[in-house]
Amino acid sequence: MTLQAENITFSYRHRQPVLQEITLDIRPGTATALFGPNGSGKSTLLRCMNGILQPQLGRVKINGGEIHSMGRRETARQIAVVPQDCPADVPLTASEMVMLGRYAHWDMWGQEMPEDQTIVRESLARLNATAFADRPFGCISGGERQRVLLARALAQQAPIMLFDEPNTHLDISHQIELYRLVRELADEGKAILMACHDIFITPMFVDNAVLMRSGGIHAAGPAAEVLTPENVKAVFGASIEISWRKDFSFSAIFT
């Protein structure tokens, strides 16, 4: 399953365009990180890629078919989204939350299949979330909630996965765990696009990087080629030189 944006331009209610002529290809087996300062259009781009927002120009396609001709349920079987956060007042347990990932696969009566239970259990186990599976979603920590949301996206069993700054509430060790998972999923053949703020560690785990600046793509390609000091300076206004080594370590020079 390939997810493509072809020249999309999007604006909210005819104001200044938030996205301008974005073209992006997300292929199976690759993980792409989406970098850019706050307000550069990362989240809007994800919502266009997911078919929730309709760009005024250009189109988004899944395997060549236009995403806007697909229903929400059909889209959810192809694309799973890991949100940044979820209201904590949801009156469900962690495992019930993960079960919602199966919604797109149910018939109209919402009958749970025996395999749904297995899929939910496996998804929770993969995120090391089994220990708090039965606790109310509102009573677990922010990091644990994020793992539950990840498990929910896994339970959705979609070939394409979008992550919207999933590391916001995670401490450093859980961030690394998350990046490892993203790498594993890409190696298993998923097509992954991850909006993210961390330009230091993420690039070691993804294949491609896209740098956004005020609604447009400033640079795209292999991560090490995209995150050059010039590009980082141009997009973030920060003078940083980062170099990554094969042994999963990096050094950064702030000038």
């Binding site: 929400r72 059909e74 989204v81 209201p87 469900l92 797109a104 009566w109 239970q117 259990r121």
Partner: protein, 350 residues
Amino acid sequence: MHESNVERRMTSASRAKWLIGLLLTATLIAVLISLMSGSVTIPPPKVLERCLTALKGQASNDATDRILLGTRLPRIILAATVGSALATAGLAAQTLFRNPLASPYIVGVSGGSAVGAVAAMLLMSKVAAITFAAVPVFSVVGGLTVTSIVFFLGRRGHNVGSGLLLAGIAIGALCSSVTAAALYLAGERLQILVFWLMGGLWRANWQETLWMAPVSAAGLVALIMLAPAMNVALVGDRSAQDLGVNISRLQKLLLILIGVETAMAVSLTGVIGFVGLIVPHLLRLIVGADHRWLVPATALGGALLLIVADTLARTLAAPVEIPVGILTAVVGAPAFLWLLQRRGVREGLS
């Protein structure tokens, strides 16, 4: 760990089944007691015997049969269907507004339906084209209008919970003043209107029952089919869309359901408050938030509550009848205050 997870889910599901069974039994017992009691007490064996003969199509049409089958039975069925419609409309409102304290009564939908119904009743005597059949239609229009206004106003605010309730209170107040103005102009129809507004099933007959029953049944079936989507909607609009719910379609369907069910109930029985608030909220505490169980439980709970309330209303002060709306408000208002205390601070009313 895995086993305990499966076990817990099973106990929660079996607890829901158990509760639904209990509610069903209680409802049947309430029907029987309600059939027995009234100005003439009919002993249970006779009630059962008469009902069975009637089912065989051999009604004898004596005094007992007329009381039992002509007066009490349609009234009980109307109570059950109105109770279930109000309760399920309340559950739908709680999902739509993402607020466990929403109900058709609180957000002003009952008031809007009442305005429509009062308008129809007043116009009936003036305009020939408007007959009694227009009352539910006017009522539905009033109910849907208020639901839509409150919904869109409540959604625009940042704090959806309190924004919604405040919009509902304001529009509810507006509706009461319109109704009051209509009463002022009512002339000789005043007494009928006032008694109707207080909420009661005293007018019940087979015809009204046959209007209410299909609406109630259709609403229940629709809500059972929407239950999985309502579960997903608990996580908020954006995530629900990501998970495959067409949220704007769900909201439209819930809006129509709330408007039609409430308005139909109001047009036939007046304003009966708090059923739509207390029943779903209380059952959620017992059954949990899974709408696949909560919807049928709520429908049964609403039916049971109104059968009991109406039986009390017509027997407590017999031969005088207490409007059932007064009875549900006396029980419901303190219960609502208790819920505010319990959950208000945590659920966005602060």
